[in-house]
């Protein structure tokens, strides 16, 4: 079978970075994307690039991921408005302070350069904060990028690297036999290797090659305000991970934190849940009172895939030769570019810089179960 050396299904951060590195490694690569590059979770998330909100086990990866975002301009040739602002995570009650202390102590030990700060110190670092926090942690490495520019940035880099891009091409079937034939309404693509990078749609893609990825999907809400006078200069979060708040250079406030909306991979993002939007806005207002004078202009949803242990799914697909998967990276926007490199190195037969997250750890993915 002739064709590409690798077919990447999914044109988000993870698929695009994998494709880019495979192409740089000498492979002939095609990216097959159901809609347009960077329009799934990679393009609609709140853009937070925070080290201190990452799970301890993922901190070394997140450090590398943020390095990649910092050098996006050099790496991809286009700016994604990366800003290193420093970030504060807040606790508003004694119980929250306890959670914050436990988590941040663990993450600090894992390598996050953070410090615990009093309310007074937190308000020196970020004068836009309310007096409500009882404890905060500060990490100078935190920042954000503009996720809406992700697709454009990768598109140009992929084209430059000679990667074939097929957008508007939802995969309807994957046929095997001496390689892979990926069938879409825009044509059938043939390749020796297959990388599934379909985010929330990974479960359906897995079934096309007879694999049951143990994936659940979260539907995260983001809201944005109209432009307002600069009120905060840091990114702001919450001990429970229920808030991300930042003010862009253009004055708009972006409010996230994983409050749930309605949707699923079949129907996509269906609708926000009004009470969850309101809860999210209230939490943000409790942290930054200047929001009261803002106007809310838009709310939207993004679909995020998770596996039961909430750790990434990055590596060979058990039982299917030459098939690989990348996804389910909590904090995937931050870590994704580095994960893509690790997977690409695995595909290229190189030793990855850090251990990958072998999908074979899940019982449901073990080859003997597949044939049963």
């Amino acid at each position: 079978m002739t064709g590409f050396d690798a077919l990447i299904v999914g044109g988000g951060v993870m698929g695009a970075t994998t494709a880019l590195r495979l192409a740089q490694g000498g492979m002939r690569v095609a990216v097959i994307e159901k809609r347009a590059l960077g329009t799934g979770a990679s393009g609609v998330n709140a853009g937070t690039l925070s080290l201190q909100i990452k799970r301890a086990a993922l901190v070394p990866y997140a450090i590398k991921g943020i390095e990649r975002w910092r050098s996006t301009h050099e790496r991809l040739g286009i700016d994604v408005h990366y800003r290193r602002t420093g970030g504060l995570t807040l606790a508003f009650t004694a119980a929250e302070a306890e959670v914050l202390t436990a988590r941040m102590t663990e993450r600090k030990a894992a390598g996050v350069p953070l410090e615990f700060v009093t309310t007074a110190r937190a308000r020196e670092i970020e004068p836009g904060l309310s007096a409500n926090p009882v404890l905060a942690s500060f990490c100078a490495e935190d920042g954000y990028a503009s996720s809406t520019l992700t697709g454009r940035a990768y598109r140009e880099a992929l084209l430059k690297a000679g990667v074939a891009i097929h957008e508007g091409a939802p995969v309807t079937a994957i046929e095997r036999g001496g390689g892979f034939r990926v069938v879409t309404p825009r044509g059938t693509f043939v390749g020796r290797r297959l990388v599934l990078a379909g985010g929330a749609w990974l479960a359906a893609l897995g079934r096309m090659i007879g694999v049951e990825f143990p994936i659940s999907v979260r539907v995260n809400t983001v809201s944005v305000t109209t432009r307002m006078p600069m009120a905060i200069h840091r990114i702001v979060g919450h001990a429970f991970g229920l808030l991300t708040l930042k003010q862009s250079d253009n004055g708009t406030m972006l409010i996230g934190g994983g409050w749930q909306g309605r949707g699923d991979p079949e129907r996509g993002a269906v609708e926000v849940i009004p009470d969850n939007v309101i809860g999210n806005l209230r939490l943000a207002l409790h942290a930054v009172p200047a929001l009261a004078s803002a106007r809310v202009v838009r709310t939207w949803l993004g679909l995020e895939a998770n596996v039961p242990d909430a750790m990434p799914l990055v590596g060979p697909v058990p039982g299917v030769d030459d098939a690989f998967v990348i996804g389910c990276v909590r904090g995937g926007y931050t870590i994704g570019p580095f994960m893509g490199e690790l997977l690409a190195d695995t595909v290229l037969g190189r030793e990855p810089e850090m251990p990958i997250f072998d999908p074979a750890r899940f019982n449901s993915l073990q080859p003997q179960k597949l044939s049963a």
């Binding site: 329009t39 799970r55 009650t93 809406t148 309101i278 809860g279 209230r282 939207w300 909430a310």
Partner: protein, 473 residues
Amino acid sequence: MKPGVAVIGGGPAGIGAALSAARAGLAVTLFDEQPGAGGQVYRPLPAPFAADSGPDAEVGRRLRAELAASSVDARFARKVWFVGPAADGYEVRAVGPEGAETLTAPRLIAATGTTERIVPFPGWTTPGVMGLAATTIMLKAQHLLPGANVVVAGVGPLLAAVAVGILKQGGRVAAVVDLAGVGEWAAAMPAMAARGDLLARGIGWVAQIKRAGVPMLARHAVVAVDGGDRVTAVHVAPVDASGRPSGPSRTIAADSLAIGHGLIPATEIPRILGAAVEYDAARGGWITRADAYGATTVPGLYVAGDGAGIAGAAAALEGGRLAGLAAARDAGVLPADRFAAESAPLLAASRRAARFGGAMARMMAIRPGLVAAIAHDTVVCRCEDVTRGEIDEAIGAGARDVNQLKSWTRCGMGPCQARICGDVVGELIAPAVGGRLAAGISTARPPLRPLPYHALAGTFAYDELNLPAPAPS
């Protein structure tokens, strides 16, 4: 009374829908952001002008009286910011003078009218340039003139209505600049004759304008406006049938410009609820797919009025009544034979009115040549200051539809949420991607209107927030 139906919009379509559904026995709740019913055409007038005469004022008064005498729970000064499916129908969230309101109803009728289209030209964001529809509101509701010496430009019946309104208030009209040619008006006459009353009124307007000595320039467009803080001059040029400027421009001294290039149906609510939409330039562009009674592809969701496809205020009233009857039929309170008997004359009247409105809508359809001629440096998205050049650059870089273009350039991301620029942007992308269907429509998101943060957040105690449990560490 059976529950019920929620009607969004208190213009003629919404009033018609609310009244006919209520008469058939449904509990009806109507929401509108204005202080009273009537919409843009039959707008309620403030006390000093309440005695104004004219056919529109009469219709408005009659509709408001009927609404007041009905069982309809009419809620004004309400911003509806969210609609979504609920277990037993639809959930509507609004904020009003008393704060937040939530209503669930088994059925929903969207009668949300239109937005005015303005195809950008150099200087279109200069103070003193305003929409024809906005000018109509100023003239009717405030007796205010847009300026002392006004150029009235664009296309459609509002041109003459605004020019006459300005003359009536004692203002000066420097010129009426019409995109349409004399031949287009002549071709529209047979359809306009379906509503002889409206046709006669229009002919009367034109006669008044001519009597006042106002120059009327057919098949011309405004190509630029001079002035920094204030309009000082308006440049106009002849155009071809597609709207593309096709000859030397001339300068008209003026201190203001009222301009509108047609109306765009507001389809946000049906789109948020997943109703199928289709593109029909001759009916205003993107419209909700619906049957003759306004039933959409989503059960229990109906559309009526110009928001369901431009057909004019007269057709909107009948269309609204039909949608109200359909909701009542589907709710089981209106037997099939009664539905047939009551809807037949309405259907006939609405078709008559729609012949007139349809001719106007065709004339007001977006003119591709006018859009194609937008200059490189002209701002297209005024909320976010995105120029034609930046849009073209993004299209050249591979932006495939209006939503991708929005991500890449912020075009349509501002307070208007692409209501003003989206139609023009779709037209700009269309040639590169194979048409308006492929270019798509900006995804509708709540809130349906920009909403003050405090109106949504309200007052709260932190310990009552019921925060979800923390994600695993």
